[in-house]
Each structure stands twice: as structure tokens, then as C-alpha cells.
Symmetry: C2
Subunit: 222 residues, 2 copies
DNA sequence: TTGCTTATCGACCGAATGGTCAATAACTGG
DNA sequence: CCAGTTATTGACCATTCGGTCGATAAGCAA
């Protein structure tokens, strides 16, 4: 009865309405969606919630994104990509002992993990949802995992070629993953347990640096 | 209108009904719920879905569990705990060089990750949902993280005390986390990318073994 | 001002979901 | 075989949520 067919009689009389260019509104929506996703997870996040955080009507989000899934992938893309460009720049610019470079890379990575807690939360979320969104899984494989592994591999190989590291390190297929994992896991731990309860970043950074440098050194002179 | 007060006229005439003791039914429900959660995530999983997988009416789940959250924590508990008892038994029973023990522990961990893919998926899920369920976070911290770190720390310390490893390894607060992370991350990668696309477990196991053994060895004789 | 484009709103819908509850059939002990 | 206990059912409810859509106002050009 009270579901009148088109009984929509009092529409569109909303309050102050500010019209923005898409270049201004999009970041607002992405930022709000990041908060919503980080706080409630993918399944728990609601379009209405993201809209409310952005101070915007729900319908507007559908004006910018086809649906929830696309909004999520857009948020992830906009957040995780810049991390790697930084590291790659460091590698390209470096010269000197490779041990120093490796040490500096490790420190940079841990530092970055400690900086923005929302990044960690989103990273964790990415892990959790990747298998339900093929596009997300591909994105992670290509833009995060492979990129990180390649970066590490190139440094280790160069160090081995320069006689600084053990020669067999260059052909060790799993080494890069083993070197990358502690930072990734530190991020996950931070995202899930919070900065206080997760293992200390400083301690992990120091331990990994020591372990790697002595573990990769040539067994030669005492 | 058509919501008759107690118009429920034809209830309870369902088909073949098998009555089981709770000790028989509970594992069925937990197993079915594991499948459902692993496949759809926490938010995406539905009580009806879990019930259907168990071949049971939805209401029965509420007979055994107060709600969705409790069902989830029960599933996680039942799944992750047995992993550690195995490792702890290994440590308790071992004697001989600590390098061998460490090697064996690493192999056991990677092996276990490779065995049941649902465990990896659930582990990934646990990471993702821990911060929305305090009970889950505590469970992880106490029953998984601390337990693993303690195990590793005890072995490393014993090895250092026996003069097998570098003396300073025993006091390295972050070392255990760095040693534990690759296995955990390997599990996460498997859970999110699948066995084929994730970094090879064998390669990671071999690389980590090499890295650790040479990284922990006393710098002494060439 | 007029009129066109388009960013923005918010009521609405259908579907799905978590959770409840009275009815009931399967066992149990006597 | 009967009565009491309890495991099990499935219809039902309230709510939430993703997504649609017509109305509308803000800006811009003429």
C-alpha cells in the first residue's frame, strides 16, 4: 500500500549543494572510501558509509564508479603504487658498496611501513580480498610482488657479480622472496595488531640487516 | 497485511531428519563453515550457506553458536592450533646440532603450508579480520605469534649457548620475527595467489635455510 | 536572461542476510 | 509403549545494502 509506484513527490530539495569538478571530487571520494574500507573491510564497508564520510549522497559514487568492486580497486591502486617508485629511484641513483644499498633499502621499507598505518591496513585488506577479485590479484602480482622481487634480485645479483656477496646468491630463486617477506609481514602485523602490539619495526629492521649482511657475505676470510 | 500473526500452518514437516550427538554434529558444522568462510570471506559468508554445506537447517547453527562471530572464532581456533603442537613436539624431542633442528623446523613449516590450502586461506582471513574481533586478535597474538616467536627464540638461544651460533643472536629481539615472517608470508601468498602463482615454497625453504645457517654461523674459521 | 550540460541528491526497490521461534521428530529411560 | 528431553527444522521478521532513477540545481556560454 504505502509503496506508491511513483509516489516520489518531494525529491531533490536537499540542502546546500556544492558543485565540484571531478578532479576535486574524486580524491575526496577515494579518501573517504579508503577510510571506510580500512575500518570495516570490503564486505563490511557500505557505499552509503563511504558517501557519508565524503559528505556526499550515495548516488554520486555511482556517478563516478560503476560499483563497489571498482571503487575498491581504485582505492587500492591509488594507495599502494607510490611506495615502489621511491625504492626504485634509490637503487638507480646509488653507487658504492652493495651492502650499503641493501641496508638502505631495508631501512627505507621498514620506515615506510611505520609511517602511515592506513597503508598497512589497506595492504592487509588487499591480501584478504585478492582471490575474490582477479583484477586485484593481478595488480598485486605485477605491481607489488614482481616489482619488489625484481628490485631485490637486481641488487643481489649486482652485488654478487661485484664479488661482494656469495656467488650462488645470484641464482637463488627463492632468496628475493625470503628477503621481502619480513617487511611485508611486518606491515601485516602492524595492520592487524596495531603499532604497539606488533613486533617492533626497529628490532626487525636491525635483525634483518644483520642476518642478511652476514648471510650473504662471502665465506672467505675470517 | 499478508503478514499473518501466527499463520505458520505447515511447519516442521521436513524430509529425512537424522539426529546426531553434538560431538558428531559440531565437526560437520565447523568443517562446512570453514569452507564457506574460506571461499567467501567473513563478510561474504552466510549462515545459510554454511548450513547448506553442512546439510543442515540454518537454525541449527544458532543452536550450537550464539552468532556469526562466535562461529568464525570457533572455526579459526579449531584450525590453526594443531600446527604448533607438532613443531613443539619436534623441538622437545630433538637432540644433536641445533642447525639441524632449525633446518628441520623450517622444512616442517613450509611443508605444512603446502599441505592444506584451506589453512592458508583461513590464515589469511584471520589476518584480515583480527582487528575487527578483539578476541581473534588476542588469540592470534597469544596462540600463534608469541608461540612461534618463543619457539624460535628458544632454539636460537640454545644454539648460541652451545657455541653453534653467533653469541649476539640470542639477544636479538627482532630475529625471531624475521625468521618467522617468510613462512607466514609464504602462507599468505599461497592463500591469495594460489599455489601456482605464489613464490615457490621449495625455493623459499631452500633459500631461507641457506641464509639462516650462514647468517647465524659464528664468524670464526674460514 | 535563457537554455544546455552535468554534477548532485535522495527516495525507492529487490534481494540477501542475521537472527528468532514455535512446531516437531528423533532418541532415552522407564 | 509412553513420556520427557533435545536435536532439528523452516517459515518468518527486521534490517541492511547495492544499485537505479527521475528530479534538480550549479555553472557556463550565448
Amino acid at each position: 500500500m504505502l509503496s506508491g509506484g511513483e509516489a516520489r513527490t518531494e525529491v531533490g530539495r536537499g540542502g546546500a549543494r556544492r558543485r565540484l569538478t571531478p578532479e576535486e571530487r574524486l580524491p575526496q571520494i577515494l579518501e573517504a572510501a579508503l577510510e571506510e574500507f580500512a575500518e570495516r573491510g570490503y564486505g563490511g564497508a557500505s557505499m552509503a558509509g563511504a558517501a557519508a564520510r565524503a559528505g556526499v549522497a550515495k548516488g554520486l559514487i555511482y556517478y563516478y564508479f560503476p560499483g563497489k568492486a571498482e571503487l575498491f580497486t581504485a582505492v587500492v591502486r591509488s594507495c599502494i603504487q607510490p611506495v615502489f617508485t621511491e625504492a626504485e629511484k634509490l637503487v638507480a641513483a646509488h653507487d658504492g658498496p652493495y651492502a650499503d644499498l641493501l641496508q638502505r633499502l631495508i631501512r627505507l621499507a621498514y620506515q615506510r611501513v611505520g609511517e602511515d598505518s592506513r597503508d598497512s591496513v589497506l595492504f592487509k585488506l588487499l591480501l584478504a580480498e585478492a582471490d575474490r577479485f582477479p583484477e586485484l590479484g593481478d595488480f598485486y602480482r605485477l605491481e607489488v610482488l614482481s616489482r619488489g622481487l625484481d628490485l631485490i634480485t637486481s641488487v643481489v645479483s649486482a652485488g654478487a657479480a661485484a664479488g661482494e656477496f656469495r656467488a650462488d646468491a645470484a641464482e637463488d630463486g627463492g632468496l628475493a622472496a625470503v628477503l621481502m617477506a619480513p617487511v611485508a609481514m611486518a606491515s601485516v602485523w602492524r595492520g592487524m595488531l596495531g603499532p604497539e602490539r606488533a613486533p617492533s619495526l626497529e628490532a626487525m629492521c636491525a635483525a634483518q640487516t644483520r642476518l642478511i649482511l652476514s648471510g650473504l657475505a662471502r665465506p672467505g676470510p675470517g
